[in-house]
Amino acid sequence: MISQDTIVALATAPGTGAIAVIRVSGPDAISTTSQVFEPVRGGSLTKASSHTVHLGYLKEDGRTLDQVLVTVFKGPNSYTGEHVTEISCHGSPYIQQEIIQLFLRKGCRMAEAGEFTLRAFLNGKLDLSQAEAVADLIASENAASHQLALQQMRGGFSNEIKNLRQELLNFASLIELELDFAEEDVEFADKKQFSELLTRIQQVFRNLIDSFALGNVIKTGIPIAIVGEPNVGKSTLLNALLNEERAIVSPIPGTTRDTVEDELVIGGIGFRFIDTAGIRETVDVVESIGIRKTHEKIENARLVIYLVDAKEVNLTQEKRKEVQGRLALLKDQYPGKEMLLVVNKVDALEDGVLSRLTEEIPNALFISAKENKGLDTLKDQFLNLVNTGALTSGDTIISNTRHYNALIRATEEIRKVQEGLESGLSGDLLAVDIRQALYHLGEITGEITTDDLLGNIFANFCIGK
């Protein structure tokens, strides 16, 4: 059997290690690898002999991802019997995921659980006596990868999905009850509760989906917007953050990205400032909170720094109230975004005023961009948001591509259920969408059969004339 597509997956155990191996298999394995691999010795991988190892850099659009060792196996003399490359890279999950993403972008497909072994078997690389072992392995890989996938989702999330699925199942049972036992003397689904559940499910899924999307965004950095009135020091803050960063970025190839003008890496996580050009314009008189351009910026950001001038907020109580009011308004308008209230220019305050202000504005960070004060705290705050999951780091994702797709589809179905519920759609039609949603969640948490529903009904309701 000749496979048409080229597959990629992590071949070593997921998580952080000294090195990790990513395996690519299929007709385009070598040519695709060659497109992104620059051997130290020059030349091209496509000309390399089978069973050879090559040192070099993985690059995309001139950006170095990592320094790696690539082992080339030419079909049929490989594990799978197809062309195979094995890329030994540095072991951080971030790097692993970056590399796999790169291959996905280059047209590879994420390998299914056990698919390398499956291909090996199908290509006759394993004889009949080994066949049983293969099937065993596939079975165990399925179980293990399933387990693993669940672990890899943030623990809380996976439990939450299970619980939500169970709740959805309970409601599905109630809907079925209403359909199959319409004449029975039983209580049926509470529409309001059901609608609330649907809203909750959508929120949780949205967060999960966002976390995945963010993982993809990480390669270009988590977008940050700095907004504020003219002359509060936006441009000074930007330069202070970036200049300091330049000193920190180490030129070790493969572990950092090429430094980009408006990009900042903290603790291995990329952050990117939106519209730096706009900020840098010295005369930004037209800009102020509330104008359209500012809203566009916020729209594109995950993290919003609302910068105010310490002298201004120190002037009157009214001014402070106004600032808090605007912040609340922003939070209201953009519920998905993280907002940081930052008070700049504390250097211009008289002695003693700062401590009073910190009490009066307890939700703000106080900095002096000019004098590099409080910037570390600010950056810690960025990282905190990543670690608490408010902004998501990259290591939750890649092996969950299937989960991601399942979640997207499940969310879409749930949305339809809710729409249907609101427009008074009959239960049997709601059930079509609910069943689909359960099916997609089943792809994440395990299988579902209609028996589940009936079992649930019989266990909980007195049925039968």
Binding site: E132, A135, L137, T450, I463, K465
Partner: protein
């Protein structure tokens, strides 16, 4: 004294047996119905009603294929209701109350009017088997009846044991003998057998009831019917009534619990969870103070009444005392007490999709012998067994239905793939593609198939084609005809739907949730179309469903198509699962006994996990 050799011999004259013998005979087989009592052909052993949710769809399917149950039900109906009418069309479920005696009479007349059907009254005590092939049956008088194929539809008669309180006695139904011999022989031949339990409520004298104290349950104002053929529509109907049990009733019933065969361990077999006895309801749902009771007349003229919801095997004195405490039953007189019955069944995983047994060739099982419950479930199996018995001996391709084609397909696939621990009843939730399996389109789904195998008549086929064509044209009419916005907005205002700004195709507005055919008929173009083309109610209903639910129907169709891929991966007949050590132990055992025909069927077996399926796929080279 018999034909030299029958093509098909059917043992048992209940719903399954009657359909089986009719189908085989109508397709051209020389067929014989052997039953212990020719007076009880088509007997309704339990409640005097046909259809209901999911079951009504099955009756329509039987009718669409060319079976008799729909016609018999229509001719003997005393009340008709379309249940679940407030829900989507997949849930609309026809149900009739029937005159028990007329029902049996109609069946007898239908069978007597079917050429090729012979009758014989005697108990069958054994099977004639040559090698692993059936050769006929032996009767209690020692007569051998030779047959190319045999369909067993023994109902609750195989070693039937009736329980009332602490009393127990052999019997297949109240007042009828149990059948012995067959189970023992089948077990000797290698079949697994089990015991199941079901129950029935007391029958009482309607003259002793106070209907003033109950709530009337009338039939539909405009009753429909089951058959797609020209059977009569009811002009008058009889009411059912509803009443409730109370705490007091429950207390009296509890007094008898220590003498209940259910609770003192005398009945060991499993009864249906969805059709529990009244004692079971009280015991399991102690927090409920009241349960519904439906009072169903047994016919047009008889005073006998069926007390639906009060199935019980408590001692008759407890039954009597408790029922007398129920509102409206204060002066009740019993015709006969309720009872529980235990009987033999054969786990249906021993069957093929054609209902032929895997062990003995040309031997078929249908109905309660397969662990099902319900007239409709039994009748549909009888029909399929009769059809396949005929096809097999005439060297024709077997006839099976897929899960997305018919409830009958769901039923049989569930039985032979999953087996059943409790008496199996159909529910709409058992069907993955409920939206496709509607009562309104059973003819469109199945009549062409029934016609092709030579069962559905020419008349049936032509009627279906006309309905299909007219509905299609009507839908096209809505798709292509524009409305006048002023007229349309009048209707939209009436249903509180957003007005339209300009003219558009009717289909668009008709698709809105609140707009029905009734509303559309207010438009002159539509009512003119209906008049000119002589559009009947069925076509209107069909067109309406196709316009309003097309999105969901399409969605389920595409889901069904996706599954079809696994349906197409066939597993070789002689596949040896025991060699696949990588399958889980449970999966290996189950696959080895059930022997699924396709990967899709394998995936539905409980205990077979997705990883077991991948292992299978690997070995099948996919």
């Amino acid at each position: 004294m018999f034909e030299k050799e029958y093509d098909v011999v059917v043992v048992g004259g209940g719903h399954a047996g009657a359909e089986a013998v009719a189908a085989a005979a109508n397709m051209g087989s020389k067929a014989l119905l052997v039953t212990m009592n020719l007076q009880t052909i088509g007997q309704m052993s339990c409640n005097p009603a046909m259809g209901g949710i999911a079951k009504g769809q099955i009756v329509r399917e039987i009718d669409a294929l060319g079976g008799y149950s729909g016609i018999v039900s229509d001719k003997s109906a005393i009340q008709f209701k379309m249940l679940n009418k407030s829900k989507g069309p997949a849930m609309w479920s026809p149900r009739s109350q029937n005159d028990r005696m007329r029902f049996a009479e109609e069946w007898r007349m239908m069978l007597e009017g079917t050429p090729n059907v012979d009758f014989y009254q005697e108990m069958v005590v054994g099977l004639l088997v040559k090698g692993n092939r059936i050769a006929g049956v032996r009767t209690s008088l020692g007569l051998d009846i030779k047959a190319k194929s045999v369909v067993l539809t023994n109902g609750t008669f195989l070693n039937g044991l009736i329980h009332i309180g602490e009393k127990q006695f052999g019997g297949g139904r109240a007042g009828e003998k149990a059948a012995t011999g067959i189970t023992e022989q089948l077990v000797d031949l290698g079949f697994d057998s089990g015991r199941m339990k079901t129950g029935t409520p007391p029958r009482v004298d309607g003259r002793s009831l106070d209907y003033e104290r109950m709530i009337p349950q009338p039939g539909d104002q405009f009753p429909e019917k089951f058959s797609y053929l020209d059977t009569p529509v009811l002009k008058t109907q009889r009411d059912c009534f509803m009443t409730h049990t109370s705490k007091e009733v429950h207390e009296i019933l509890k007094e008898g619990f220590d003498r209940s065969p259910m609770f003192n361990g005398r009945i060991k077999s499993i009864g249906p969870r969805y059709c529990p006895s009244i004692e079971d309801k009280i015991n399991r749902f102690a927090e409920k103070d009241s349960h519904q009771i439906f009072v169903e007349p047994e016919g047009w003229n008889t005073v006998e009444v069926y007390v639906n919801g009060f199935s019980t095997s408590l001692p008759e004195d407890v039954q009597y005392k408790a029922l007398r405490t129920v509102r409206g039953f204060e002066k009740v007189k019993f015709f006969r007490p309720g009872y529980a019955i235990e009987y033999d069944y054969f786990p249906p995983t021993q069957l093929k999709h054609t209902l032929e047994t895997k062990i003995i060739e040309n031997l078929y099982f249908a109905g309660q012998i397969n662990g099902t419950t319900g007239y409709e479930e039994a009748a549909s199996q009888g029909l399929m067994a009769g059809i396949n018995a005929h096809l097999k001996i005439h060297d024709k391709e077997p006839f099976t239905l897929q899960r997305d084609e018919a409830y009958i397909g769901v039923l049989i696939d569930d039985l032979i793939t999953k087996g059943t621990e409790e008496p199996y009843r159909m529910f709409t939730s058992r069907a993955e593609y409920r939206t496709l399996l509607r009562q309104d389109n059973a003819d469109l789904r199945l009549t062409p198939k029934g016609y092709e195998i030579g069962l559905a008549s020419e008349e049936r086929m032509r009627k279906m084609e006309e309905k299909e064509r007219k509905s299609k044209e009507f839908v096209e009419f809505f798709r292509n005809t524009s409305f006048d916005p002023t007229d349309m907005n009048q209707i939209l205002e009436e249903v509180e739907s957003a007005p339209v700004k300009q003219a558009d195709k009717m289909f668009k507005v008709f698709s809105r949730p609140k707009v029905s055919m009734e509303h559309m008929l207010q438009l002159k173009e539509v009512s003119d179309y209906v008049k000119e083309r002589n559009i009947d109610r069925e076509v209107m209903e069909q067109a309406e469903i196709q316009v309003k639910y097309s999105g969901y129907i399409e969605k389920e169709k595409s889901n069904a198509d996706k599954l079809q891929r696994l349906e197409n991966i066939r597993i070789p007949d002689n596949f040896d699962y025991t060699k696949l050590k990588s399958l889980s132990f449970e999966a290996r055992e189950k696959l080895q006994t059930i022997r699924p025909v396709t990967i899709s069927q394998a995936s539905r077996i409980s205990g077979v996990s997705p990883s077991d399926i991948s292992v299978l796929l690997v070995f099948l080279g996919r």
